[in-house]
Symmetry: C2
Subunit: 369 residues, 2 copies
Amino acid sequence: MAEPQYLALDAMGGDFGPSVVIPGAALALKKHPSLQFLLFGKASAIETELLGYPELAARSLVRHTDTVIASDAKPSQALRRGKGTSMWQALEAVRDGEAAFAVSAGNTGALMAVSRLILRTLPGIDRPALAGQWPTIHRPSIVLDVGANIGASAQELCNFALMGAAMSHSVFGIDLPTVGLLNVGVEEIKGADEVKQAHTWLKDVQLSFDYRGYVEGDKIGQGIVDVVVCEGFTGNIALKTAEGTSKQIATYLREAMSSSLLTKAGALLATGAFKILKHRSDPRRFNGGTFLGLNGIVIKSHGGTDAYGFASAIEVGYGMASSGIIDRLTADLASLTARLAVIAQVPAAEASVGDGAGTVKPLQPHPQS
Amino acid sequence: MAEPQYLALDAMGGDFGPSVVIPGAALALKKHPSLQFLLFGKASAIETELLGYPELAARSLVRHTDTVIASDAKPSQALRRGKGTSMWQALEAVRDGEAAFAVSAGNTGALMAVSRLILRTLPGIDRPALAGQWPTIHRPSIVLDVGANIGASAQELCNFALMGAAMSHSVFGIDLPTVGLLNVGVEEIKGADEVKQAHTWLKDVQLSFDYRGYVEGDKIGQGIVDVVVCEGFTGNIALKTAEGTSKQIATYLREAMSSSLLTKAGALLATGAFKILKHRSDPRRFNGGTFLGLNGIVIKSHGGTDAYGFASAIEVGYGMASSGIIDRLTADLASLTARLAVIAQVPAAEASVGDGAGTVKPLQPHPQS
């Protein structure tokens, strides 16, 4: 596959704007020296940051924008007033084939709404899903939807399975990803109706993933499947609950380790172990949520992350763009739609609700490069 | 308040039956020497265990039953064939006022179905909720529903708020418990429709709790409210996700601590800290889910717990029975129904769907005692 050339960064997104985006881009460039960057935002602020990274500056084009989408803007406001902002222009660069993918640490709801407007959805997809990386005791899993939408039909859950599998293949290089449906038990009789219906269908469709049935909440972190599928309300609650539990135990550990002189001495000796522990559960390594189902690649970085975390988000986009995920998704979704029309009598017309333009942007060097 | 006298134990429930239930009861008796026990199950097995606990034996009546409800029985099977089993008879003892509460480590679905049949629901309640204790960095919180049902209406979420608050008062002695609704964001515009509707109502009803608005998944473990309200699918996923994350980090910690001679030495010195850590996140301390909304007190112990965990479940029932929670719930539910009839135009008739017998069993000594 071709390496992505240009990528579009919303330099103003997130809590820290260019002071995190630019050093993050510099880290990504160290790893992939052939990358080139389109940087959208306030030119003076971006150029000031670039002074510290001459190699990045040499491989970047700065595109000045006067406005930004506020971190608390509602999606509807972003759609009405977002034109010309750094986020909007970064997404237009993807739409126009100037950039292979876009990364923004801006407002999630706005990014979702504007992405959908500018890039449109793939044939068969009505609403994109937000896919997150979930650290497990093995390799990371992909969990989706983690909050792009509330609720999902059985058909949408099947789409999520397929899209999550494509992402697992792209980002982690897994040939036949295993997929599970998040449920309250592993027995066939349990669960919400849509989940049970999706389970029946997923057992029957033969596509580019290995469906393993139901997965309970306590098994996600065990990494028993590569992709965990759920609707967005549940997925968001699960993801945040895991983050919260992780912090809670870190608090317990810190307090326990400073409870006596002896434990303090032990903690000092075991400094190396705490470094390993910190590294394994470092959320920056798993930064980079992806809107799947769009006709283009958009990565959402956490608003509060640092340069290291922002570089992780770029890495996710790089993997997806390099592997040609949009082509794969378009083909897979067509197969799924056809298959469900047979096994589930889901009419092809209904199954392919969506914007459906379906034209895939080739990865191409920037015209001015 | 009167101390509960007799309590009913399903001695055959759980993975270990009497070999956990009897030592668990003995631990509870040490803490509350006035307790008396009705022990339901295979008499020979129970009596063999009681040989090791003469003080408990002196305060117990053994009620022989020939049959048990299998751990994998479906609720419908339990209802059809459960009569005469140890679980069934323990619940009948509560219904008949022989026992102040029942504890079973048996099959959750069966316990829910049989409890509902035998005890019936309180006026205003159609489906009971399962409330769990959630360890936080402060005192434990109550989370409900953690899996008795899939989905909940806005009205049911309001009932959960009220019932969770009553439990928080009973078990932890909190006068005006704080209550939050689990949601994917704290903004008013976000969330499932039922959750948003319940939010509007809860802000308006003035009852025996302090409603604090939305709570996100990562805040549960911070203990920012005493009661977290959600429908059962989400609650079950959240609870199990927290358990899984806790285990995952324990694995990381163990592996990190044995990564070198130095870290091993550190771990040895810090043994005391690991003991504190283990104690703070020990699931046995938080064992004891409660079916709320029944006309009687039923505690579900984890099937795989040990005597210490089973004693924790008894302690939950003890707190609830001592505080007269059923009286409080009956009164509170009537107030809520009346209040919602005014502010939400929920017709009183609709709001009070349920079995509705509403007769409250007084805590009374066993007739033979």
